[in-house]
């Protein structure tokens, strides 16, 4: 049997999802697949297009894993257009003259921006906002401009306005309707949004019908003339007044077109030709087309299912509710937001002080939720959406759902149990409650696991509170107790222990064990409590009562190596080192025969030091001005920096200066796991700061702060917490971030994993750190200030304390050294000898050795 020939036209978000879904559900090597991608790059995240301006790299937005199409043997025609189709012979003709045969054809041609036929709209100062190429053109134009206008006050228009503001031009929004976001908001909600946006310096002009754009401005290049006789001067114009289905090819080949445009499809996403499917924004189902990505994804799934013979799977319309953040303002719209249903009633809450507006639209009998509008506070969005979608009965007083806590009434929470199995919890990835329940029953019991396995909560993240409550309800139902106990000796989580130690001012492990634990303790709780005692009270790590708690690394202030020797790594804050200090380091390395290597942390490590040599080695280094680098500790390791504006011709800020400052500020503070910082002097990001626990990137206006990135085994791209900070604010935020992590993380949890388990994600972290939602920031800053004040170099303290030094001898009853430490030459230096190199004669029981030398 010959292979099925499949052609997909369009590689936008939906076209790509179709292929992904297909790869997941069937063996694509049994098909011949060709994909047309008109743009010069494969699918990227159009929803977050404006973030292109903050990152400046198209790769960041890409949705395609490197090598995905090659790996699956899919023929990707980049930059090539399908120009005509012969349905009778089933052939696609391409812009390069190619002819490709198909058995099944998928149209995923998307949409194009609607540009109103205004006189002058073809000027070189007029743009649309849809592709990365559009953004590049806008950015180039903005460089020579002072002002810009976005035509269109809808969702996309405001997104574009955010981009213009980020480019630093005076930004205007011109809207034809009397309010912003006419589709999603009622008048009062639109006004509230307008008030907030204008306060941010964006000028909003509603009820404006643009008649003409002419290059006749006095203070700017162009002037816009409106029907009411008013005028607005601007350097350039971006049209974002809606989209239209891209159905040109379909019209050409005479497929049925819906009355308002778009390729007409049935419930299986088939067009009037059964061998041709249409999905996404180019398709029209029931005379409706959908300009959101979630319905497009759903269509992709349905079309794949149908191709594979599953006729159960159907497209049955889509909910157009949305929760977004536009120009920093939270906006939510659910169902019938404008209250158009006959007989419906409303409940409204408005707080002009905090610029919050909420409205519920309920059915005539007060029983069902029909719609909602949320501006300024969208925390109720998830629950309200579920109430509407699943037609759940409303509580007796529906207004209690949107009143703030200080109003006194208990807010009725939506129990996960009240939702049907089919309830869609994550609409970005179409994850139902049933799917989450199944993942739980398969043994995935943490939020991070659920996110990884089902994909829920990894899109916009708005559903995470609900995912968590479904997870908890499922765990409770199956009788699984989630234990966050640190170990068998303490029935408390690390966070709880932290609070007990703080509040009761507990200073020793024994006191804590007696009051709250049982037994002797173990290799988990002992170092954990040692770390908390150090974070809380700044106790010197070598206090005699603490010695028994620490891993060998903290006790001998070096990182133990496989042969029992230690590393010696002095601090080189920000990666700086003087030639004089470097020569002492070289002399010490030569004298003690230490293997020398530049580490991954922009500093120099000396390896193979026996522990009885450590105090003398460090005395020499400290005399030369070095101090400990805490390379052995669960603490800040270093701040990696690029050269920055002092030398680099691209740099916009002094990254080395800042890196050195923060490394010195936070050094020595014990954290739940090690931490790494990075500081880049411009957006080229040479310090790779976005792969660090804390990443700082210079901008023209200050510093952008990224948190919870990671390299290593499971790389994680850091999230942007705050932008354009001055140095003082930045330090404050870092203080709060560090201490909040120290207080709340699980044992040995890096910031990246801590973040993945944080309900509410980056928004929540921002609320805590920037907005002081928990009211603890003054305390967090005071805690850090105390630790910074009390800092001392652990090695300096150790070599100055005679009583510490006896511990460094290898034997307690002999001056001999460990003769098992043996080196052999390698690449002009040396390495530890293997067992067989040490004992060439041993032939007997080498089973154990073989197991470890592999």
């Amino acid at each position: 049997m010959s292979k099925l020939k499949l052609v997909v036209i369009g590689n936008g978000m939906v076209g790509h999802r179709y292929i992904e879904d297909l790869v997941e559900k069937t063996d694509v090597s049994q098909m011949d697949i060709t994909v047309f991608c008109e743009e010069p790059r494969v699918a990227y995240d159009r929803v977050h297009l404006s973030s292109y301006f903050s990152h400046h790299t198209a790769d960041e937005l890409s949705l395609v894993k490197e090598g995905f199409y090659e790996k699956h043997g899919i023929n990707m025609l980049l930059g090539e257009r399908a120009i005509n189709i012969n349905r009778e012979n089933r052939i696609v003709y391409s812009s390069t003259g190619r002819e490709i045969q198909y058995d099944k054809l998928i149209l995923a041609t998307g949409s194009f921006p609607f540009v109103p036929p205004i006189k002058g709209h073809e000027s070189k100062d007029c743009f649309v906002y849809r592709t990365i190429e559009d953004l590049k053109a806008i950015e180039a134009c903005a460089k020579n401009s002072k002002s810009g206008v976005v035509v269109g006050g809808g969702l996309l228009g405001l997104e574009a306005a955010g981009a213009l503001k980020a480019l630093g031009v005076q930004t205007h929004v011109v809207e034809f309707a009397p309010k912003l976001m006419a589709e999603q908001l009622d008048l009062a909600g639109g006004n509230q949004l307008r008030q907030k946006i204008e306060r941010m310096g964006v000028n909003v002009h509603t009820s404006k019908n643009t008649l003409e754009i002419a290059p006749e401005g006095t203070n700017a290049r162009n002037v816009m003339r409106f029907a009411d006789g008013s005028e607005l001067e601007t350097d350039f114009i971006v049209f974002s007044a809606g989209i239209r289905p891209q159905d040109k090819l379909a019209r050409q080949m005479e497929l049925e077109i819906a009355p308002r445009g778009g390729v007409a499809i049935n419930d299986y996403c088939q067009t009037s030709d059964e061998n041709i499917y249409a999905i996404g924004e180019c398709a029209s189902w029931n005379e409706m087309f959908f300009g959101l990505v979630a319905p497009g994804y759903k269509m992709a799934t349905v079309a794949v299912d149908h191709l594979l013979g599953n006729t159960e799977s159907k497209f049955e319309g889509a909910d157009m509710s949305a929760k977004l953040k536009l120009l920093g303002v939270k906006v939510g719209s659910i169902g019938d937001a404008n209250g158009r249903t006959e007989g419906c009633k409303s409940y409204v809450y408005q707080n002009e002080e905090q610029e919050v507006y909420k409205r519920l639209i309920v059915s005539q009998d007060n029983k069902k939720l029909l719609g909602a509008v949320l501006v300024g506070d969208t925390s109720d969005y998830g629950d309200l959406l579920q109430l509407m979608l699943n037609e759940i009965d409303l509580p007796e007083h529906p207004d209690a759902l949107i009143l703030p806590a200080h109003a006194g009434g208990e807010k009725p929470t939506l129990g996960a149990d009240s939702l049907p199995e089919s309830a869609v919890i994550c609409s970005c990835f179409d994850v139902t409650k049933g799917k989450i329940a199944q993942a739980v029953s398969e043994g995935h019991h943490t939020l991070a696991d659920i996110k990884a396995v089902t994909g829920a909560g990894t899109g916009c993240g708005g559903c995470i509170p609900l995912v968590t409550s479904v997870l908890n309800a499922e765990l409770a139902k199956s009788g699984i107790e989630v234990k966050s106990d640190v170990c068998e000796h303490f029935a408390y989580s690390r966070q709880e222990l932290f609070h007990l130690i703080r509040i009761e001012e507990i200073k020793t492990f024994d006191e804590l064990l007696e009051k709250y634990g049982k037994g002797y303790g173990c290799e988990v709780c002992k170092p954990l409590v040692g770390s908390i005692l150090a974070s809380c009270w700044g106790e010197h790590i070598l206090t005699p009562q603490l010695v028994k708690l620490h891993d060998t690394n903290d006790n001998f202030l070096g990182n133990i190596q496989k042969d029992g020797t230690y590393s010696v790594i002095p601090r080189m804050a920000g990666g700086e080192v003087t030639p004089q200090a470097l020569s002492v380091l070289a002399a010490v390395a030569a004298e003690y025969n230490l293997y020398t290597k530049v580490t991954g942390a922009q500093r120099i490590g000396l390896f193979g030091a026996q522990k009885d040599d450590l105090p003398q080695i460090w005395r020499k280094l400290i005399d030369a001005g070095f101090e400990t680098g805490q390379a052995y500790a669960k603490a800040l390791r270093m701040a990696k920096t690029c050269v920055g504006s002092t030398w680099c011709r691209y740099g916009v800020q002094d990254s080395v200066g800042l890196g050195s400052l923060i490394e010195n500020r936070y050094k020595g503070i014990r954290t739940p796991h090690k931490m790494k910082f990075g500081v880049s002097g411009c957006t080229r990001e040479c310090a790779e700061a976005q792969g660090k626990d804390l990443g700082i990137i210079a901008t023209d206006a200050g510093w952008n702060m990224y948190v919870c990135g990671n390299g290593g085994m499971k790389p994680r791209h850091a999230d942007l917490l705050a932008s354009d900070l001055d140095k003082e604010t930045l330090i404050k935020y870092i203080d709060r971030f560090m201490m909040f992590y120290i207080r709340t993380a699980a044992p040995l949890q890096r910031t990246s994993v801590w973040f993945e388990n944080l309900e509410g994600g980056i928004d929540y972290l921002r609320e805590v750190i920037v907005e002081d939602k928990l009211g603890i920031n003054a305390q967090l800053e005071a805690d850090v200030a105390k630790l910074v004040d009390e800092y001392e170099c652990e090695w300096t303290a150790t070599i100055n304390d005679e009583s510490q030094l006896s511990r460094f001898a290898h034997f307690i009853n002999s001056d001999m050294r460990d003769e098992n430490v043996v080196f052999v030459p390698e690449r002009d230096q040396h390495r530890p000898a293997t067992f067989t190199e040490k004992h060439p004669q041993v032939k007997g029981d080498i089973l154990h050795v073989a197991a470890t030398e592999a």
Binding site: V547, K548, K562, D563, F811, S814, T852
Partner: protein, 108 residues
């Protein structure tokens, strides 16, 4: 088999271990608490053939005392030398005692 004097009990910080040289063998000596009680097993981590066990953390599991290797955290029983993770990697145990005048002795 005779007991050899190693050190004074006060030389070992409660809750920690030290390494002793006994008849050419490296022995890890542990003092789990402030009480005058010690345990002795081989100092060699059998997974790496490195002499490090005296530098591990003393821990309690299954109501018995163990030491967790400082290299990869496998646990060794302080009384028997048995390795919790894999019995085929168990190490030699020694008899150890504290005399009335505070001498720590190991049998070799």
């Amino acid at each position: 088999m005779s007991f050899e004097k190693i050190c004074q009990i006060s030389d070992i910080i409660p809750g920690t271990g030290v390494c002793a040289l006994v008849n050419g063998e490296q022995v890890a000596l542990f003092r789990p608490t402030a009480e005058e009680q010690v345990f002795a097993i081989s100092n060699t981590d059998p997974f790496y053939q490195s002499n490090v066990l005296s530098r591990g953390l003393i821990c309690q599991h299954k109501d018995e005392l163990w030491v967790a290797s400082p290299l990869k955290k496998q646990r060794f029983n302080l009384v028997t030398g048995v390795c919790m993770e894999d019995e085929s990697f168990s190490v030699k145990a020694y008899q150890a005692r504290v005399t009335a005048n505070g001498d720590v002795e190991v049998a070799a």
